[in-house]
Symmetry: none
Subunit: 280 residues, 2 copies
Amino acid sequence: MSIVTLVQSVADTLTPSERVLVKEVMARPREIALSTAGELAERAGVHEATASRLARKLGFDSYANFRDAIRDEFIVQTDPAVRMRNTLAQSRGNSLLGGLIAQEIEALTHLPDYIGDDRLKAAARQLTDRRKVFIFARGNAESLAVLMERRLRRMAIDAVLLSGDNRDVAERLLALNADDALLTFAFRRQPRHYAAVIEHARKVGAFTLAIAGSIGPALTPAADLLLSAPRSGTADGFQTLTVPMAICNGLILQMAETAERRSLVRLEELGRLISTFETS
Amino acid sequence: MSIVTLVQSVADTLTPSERVLVKEVMARPREIALSTAGELAERAGVHEATASRLARKLGFDSYANFRDAIRDEFIVQTDPAVRMRNTLAQSRGNSLLGGLIAQEIEALTHLPDYIGDDRLKAAARQLTDRRKVFIFARGNAESLAVLMERRLRRMAIDAVLLSGDNRDVAERLLALNADDALLTFAFRRQPRHYAAVIEHARKVGAFTLAIAGSIGPALTPAADLLLSAPRSGTADGFQTLTVPMAICNGLILQMAETAERRSLVRLEELGRLISTFETS
DNA sequence: TAACAATTGCAAGATAATTTGCATAATAAT
DNA sequence: ATTATTATGCAAATTATCTTGCAATTGTTA
């Protein structure tokens, strides 16, 4: 039941101080959701005890429960990602595919919260200016590495997969120099040999970019630039590559725009493509 | 200073428990912003004292200050109303990443229109019942094939990539028989040798499944079962693998549910995972 | 005008949340 | 093998927040 409905149901019994509190809650619910009862009361010019009594009058066991309801209605449910997910889930019923898609959509919707266009542009600029891009990934991220290698090659950018056993990786890394870039992926945990690879890249002066999940900030040593956002799914269980793939695709598109060179599509198609994505 | 930057600045001094906490914060910052230190710690499986220490290590006077910073960055600053007032932020509409995400979301939203749960279940049942799954893909779809091969293996299903040149493919196809399944991908156009591969599979009585884009219905000869939906992007230009990846992930989850066997996650986690996707 | 009822601030008490000293276990260094 | 250091859970202490009994004030009614 919404806060408005609850208030309406007791409106005729509200005291003057309670009315002032209610007005304050409805005027700035998100701020109130992140405040204490004392802060709300101070803002309304009444005593905090009155705030506690109002919560009780509205049917909540405590002010904390009242605040939890405000949070759910004005922060959780108004989150565009949650709203979209719920709308889809409602229309699709108890479908496994529907549920999966709803979670992907929620995660994608939040992606811009983690990665601003400035960061994407900086990363694109760096990769475009380099002679060769070395790509390092382990585990499931290897399929993303394969994809990026192909996409970069289509853009006439020399890309090298650092795959195979440790000897193969080390041998290929010998070719890395200051004119190159290193692109590395990290999702569930910091990949084996990540530190050694990054340290070598730093030593030779190459630019390093990490595309990561929630562990991104904790990667050590840090890459020169980090693009990280949480993936959808569960922490210990099934996680998808949809969010990292969107990061990769965004990076490729940004590089295409940055470079203004012949790439995956012909120049006029590139223009149409970019305008398609920008005006959506 | 952002939470990510703060974490990066101390990343090399983080203890294992602190890393787990950080990962949790980055995975669901909005939920953490509305929780207590004890709730975060419980979720991460560490002690609440560790959460307090982490806040101090990150430079905050208290956990409450740390939480206020999370709130500001992930609730206040991401509020659409605030974002539009923020002179430094670009609105999502004019953002390249925003446009890309909007298109991915639109395509994902329509995916259930093309693929019903009955079709997904039928495909899952067939793949689960077979002895071995052969995977055939060309071009960018190869990264999906790599992913599917890994996922199927994690589910204890024997999977074989039909990669390499034509001779390699032909040699491996010789092992295909009536107890097996063939999974093939087709997006921009019918892949070279698709017809030969499908015909051979039909001849030996194997089950054939095609995961395709808009050309799916036009594939000839047809596979026994087709899962196809249009990808996002433009017909002649840049297209992403987000929709086919969602199909693959849905298939894997459906197979996990269908088989009720040990898979990517332990059985109890599987139960939780499936319920997460189904009740969202 | 007096009695009664309601409102609401005060402050003590209760509860919730966080911090910190301490001890133990694990790890690293000698 | 021994010693030193670090990590982290435990629990007591502290702080923050909320609730409730009480009383003063104000408004209403007879």
